[in-house]
Amino acid sequence: MGSCDPIFLSCFLIVALPLLSFAVIMIFTWRRHKLSLSISLTCSTIPLILAWSLFYKLHNAVTLAKPIITQVNWLVSDAVIVPFGFLLDPVSLLMLCIVATIAWLIQIYSIGYMEGDPGFARFYADLSLFGMSMLSLVSASGMLQLFISWELVGLASYLLIGFWYEKFSASEAGKKAFVVTRFGDIGFFMGLVFLTFFMKDLNIPGLGIFDINGAALTHKLSEAQVTLCALLIFCGVAGKSAQFPIHVWLPDAMEGPTPVSALLHSATMVAAGIYLITRLFPLFAASATAMSVVLVISTITLLLSSTIGMVAKDIKQVWAYSTVSQLGFMAMGLSAAALGGSTLFAGYYHLTTHAAFKALLFLCAGVFIHHFGTNDFFVMSKDGGRKLMIPMVTVTIGALALAGIFPFAGFFSKEAIMAQLWHLPNKLWVGLGLFGAFLTAYYTFRVIFVMLFPRKDDNPVWKEYYVREPGGHGHGAHDDDHDGHNGNHGVPWVMAFPLIVLAAFACVLGFMQTGLEKFLLGESHPHEMNYLLLVLAVGSALSGIGLAWLDWGSPAAKWQGFIRKVPVLENFFIQKWYMDHFWRWFLNTVIYGTFSRIFTYNDRRVVDGGVDAVAFSTIGSGRLLSFLQTAFVQLNLLFMVLVLAGVGLYLLMGR
């Protein structure tokens, strides 16, 4: 598999160029912002072109009927061969294009957003690293390569979330994201080890567990083994894709610059988890138990985050919780499909559409934040957010897509997931799914209506809502500079352009369902329209919007959520279901109080003591031996001759 293979070469360039850009900027050009920008842009534009041309060249199902694998051996150790290479099949190819596109759009957008930031070049270096690791994750041909990229994604997200590291909350958030996802990754890695161990066959092409199909798997592994592996790997997924109960890092992750949030919430970080499920779909599908667990967890995630989204006042926080809920939705779709013997299409499709409209929503939020220097959308509303035409229109489109309103992208993909849930024997799941959709529509349009229809300036509600926190939430001094010239400048073109592109995606992706399905699965299943479900789904979305209108939109609305009527629940939601408290308590008592204490004792006494003893005895023996080196040359010579005589005697006697 030489480097002359054009597919290998282009895949290699797609991954290598952003890495190169990261290295060059970090080592050489980090002082020169303009130069760094052009390096980074070049190194993200070429992968974009390459990815789409690969897509164009290979999009005929004939060529992709079998995955194209191009790889070279990277590590060879007896029976274990670890390859480095690329696997192209419809799932990875499409994802490759999505990641390349969104990463590119966000780089364009950041020209405007990060302008004048002292860490401008560093930001672009980190963005390149982020893009590179996700691209390599998506196209990895073996599990080990995927895992390495997976960890790199984690590293890059840590760097970017804590980008404004001089701010305590930002560095804390970066740390939290890193540690919490690492917590899940332990499970992921153990799952991989167990899987390799159970398969007993280290010659799975380069730990390329992708190749396994369900039949071979159940043939080799017992039910319990598959379940164990699937659940352990799901730990990693839960960490990255922010599933209950380790979702806590994602809402904090908005401490990073908004373009980072957009990237993180749409195509890179959180998408990695769902992508892994689709990648290992045969493995997950082989264990009904594991899938039921996934279904339960994802449903809890969906409801939890939707309810928290209803009471948040920070626009990024609303979108963050909506991401968590949509991820839950995707996982629901995938697990329901696995349980019902269906395909991965529904969940994957939602991943695709979600990538487009969630990036859009965050970028719009970024424009507002950039403009008004605050994250609080009530403040934005009062300060005249509706006057910014382009972001206001596009954010509405994004919101419609998120709520699942025809004809926007979210409608179709949500419908596909609902259909999967509907096929489950227990109708509870589809009920909960619909309830989730209702809540999603409600909290989304709470934001939109507040922004669109601000009250008059003397309205008493502002007393409660117009609270300008100094410096804004999630932003450093950087954004305060912009307060001085509010409204003077419109939206910079570099920031508006990605919004329009993404809005276009959010509009048209829905109509590409059949084509995508054909591309992904090789065939398109004719859908029998389930009118009852359709009505229910649209009904729940519309009623969510309707309720939002009554609470927040209509001129008579009191700007009080219906949840205000149940103060206990509202407080519960505002405290984020006390999940942060729970983890704090867990860390303090269980981890620090019990395990750390024991391990610290072991470390101090046993490990350190042992090491010290070895070190001191080594130095001591050095001192002892140095007495051989005396100034008396006679003694030296005597010693020499004695040793020789000893060796001679040994040779004489010993044979």
Binding site: V633, L644, L651
Partner: protein, 471 residues
């Protein structure tokens, strides 16, 4: 007789003549001498390079020219040249002695070159003595406080005893087989396997080279000589002479192949004691050159690992490591020489703040020391890897294990030096200026140490071809 076969030796003989005439001048001109020496050294490198692919036999088959010997001659020429590059100031040598210094440096190089080609016992002995006697003179050439005299006497006495032991061994070999030609001795020795005379003779005959390589128990001279001799002389002893000793050990040790285990076992014991002793005592040293002396004792143990396998892989490893050791050890000595411009003995503490005083030198130091410790991706790591792999494949598990533990111990004292130069500082020590040629020398050495560590294939191929002519 083809002149090219004897080319390098003739060239250096001529160079020695030139230096001899320089010593006759009434008024010493160190600058001019140095320039002539550099030119001659560079020419020597060229000549040995040109003669690299010669092969043939000379002087009634007592002298053999093959790839093996030519590689080592090239290494010697390289070592000679490298030592000359750091002779631009010779504060420890009196001005009127400097031409003599070059003269004896040249004669010892000739001796070693003769040595690596000799395949007859008496030729070996004479060549060895030629190289040794020159060094006996070079060591006390340092001017100063008498420490040089002590070192010189110690060197001479221990060297004389080693030579005596070696001659004794050679006489056994001759008595047992009736020949002084290695080629004749080799097939006859296994017939004597029942009596220990051949084995004992061989072991004693190796003593002369154990002395050069400072293998236990012939190591006593090393710390004093390293410290007492002028820095440039120490550099030569620590680099070029080691390579010559390894070459001859490889040639001679193969005689013991017929004895199998009992012969190698003796070498295993010497190797283990050398490594352990050298590394342990190095820990408590304060003088940098003394520390490196003990490190060289430990390295003698590593060399023995490759030699005692008596197999191709081990020999390749030993050749590779000998070449690597020459470069990496020189890198460290070069730093010593540049830091101690006035030629004093460098205490480890005097390296304080080297990162500030000269970033390039501190980088070279770190690269050289890490290579000596065997940290990847340096040339020293690859060498150690080859050595240990070759021994492992012969089943010397314990030897490899002890070698690896020793590698860890050695890391401790190398890191202590690095700690001193990077994490301590002394405001009294000013910056060090280095001349442009030395700057480029630094770059080249770093490139070689790292480059051949990552891509060792060329050297290994060369060593493989060379070993074919010996085994």
């Amino acid at each position: 007789m083809n002149v090219m076969l004897f080319g390098p030796e003739l060239y250096y003989l001529g160079a020695a003549l030139v230096f001899f005439f320089l010593t006759l001048k009434r008024k010493p001109e160190p600058k001019a001498d140095y320039q002539i020496a550099m030119a001659l050294g560079l020419g020597g490198l060229l000549v040995t390079g040109l003669c690299l692919c010669q092969h043939g036999e000379l002087f009634f088959k007592a002298y053999r020219v093959d790839l093996f010997s030519q590689i080592f001659k090239f290494a010697l020429a390289l070592g000679f040249f490298l030592v000359l590059t750091i002779c631009h100031n010779l504060p420890q040598i009196a001005e009127r002695d400097q031409a003599e210094f070059y003269l004896f440096l040249t004669t010892t190089t000739i001796g070693m070159m003769l040595l690596v080609s000799s395949v007859e016992l008496l030729t070996i002995y004479v060549a060895l003595e030629l190289s040794s006697y020159s060094l006996y003179i070079l060591v006390p050439l340092r001017r100063g406080d008498g420490i040089d005299v002590e070192a010189g006497i110690k060197y001479l006495l221990i060297g004389a005893v080693s030579s005596g032991v070696m001659l004794f061994g050679l006489s056994y070999l001759f008595g047992a087989t009736g020949s002084t030609y290695l080629a004749d001795i080799l097939p006859k020795l296994p017939q004597l396997a029942s009596s220990p005379i051949g084995l004992l003779g061989l072991l004693l005959a190796l003593a002369g080279f154990f002395f050069k390589l400072s293998v236990f128990p012939f190591h006593f001279w090393a710390p004093d000589v390293y410290q007492g001799a002028a820095n440039q002389v120490t550099t030569f002893i620590a680099t070029a002479s080691k390579a010559a000793a390894v070459a001859l050990l490889l040639r001679l040790a193969i005689l013991g192949a017929g004895y199998g285990y009992s012969f190698t076992k003796a070498l295993v014991i010497l190797s283990i004691i050398s490594m352990t002793l050298g590394n342990l005592v190095a820990i408590i040293q304060r003088d940098f050159k003394r520390l490196l002396a003990y490190s060289s004792i430990a390295h003698a143990g590593y060399f023995l690992i490759g030699i005692l396998t008596l197999k191709e892989a081990g020999y390749i490893a030993a050749i590779y490591y000998a070449l690597a050791y020459l470069v990496m050890n020189f890198t460290v000595f070069m730093v010593i020489n540049e830091v101690a411009k006035d030629g004093r003995d460098l205490k480890i503490q005097e390296l304080a703040g080297l990162w500030r005083r000269s970033p390039l030198l501190s980088l070279s130091l770190i690269v050289g020391l890490f290579a000596l410790a065997g940290v990847p991706p340096s040339i020293g790591f690859t060498g150690k890897l080859l050595l240990f792999t070759s021994a492992m494949s012969q089943g010397y598990f314990w030897l490899v294990l002890i070698g690896a533990v020793n590698g860890t111990i050695s890391l401790y004292y190398y890191l202590r030096v690095i700690y001193c130069s990077y994490f301590t500082d002394d405001p009294n020590l000013g910056p060090i200026t280095i001349s442009t040629p030395i700057r480029f020398l630094n770059y080249a050495l770093i490139a070689i140490v790292l480059g051949f560590g990552v891509f060792p294939d060329r050297i290994v191929e060369l060593a493989k071809a060379a070993v074919k002519t010996v085994l």
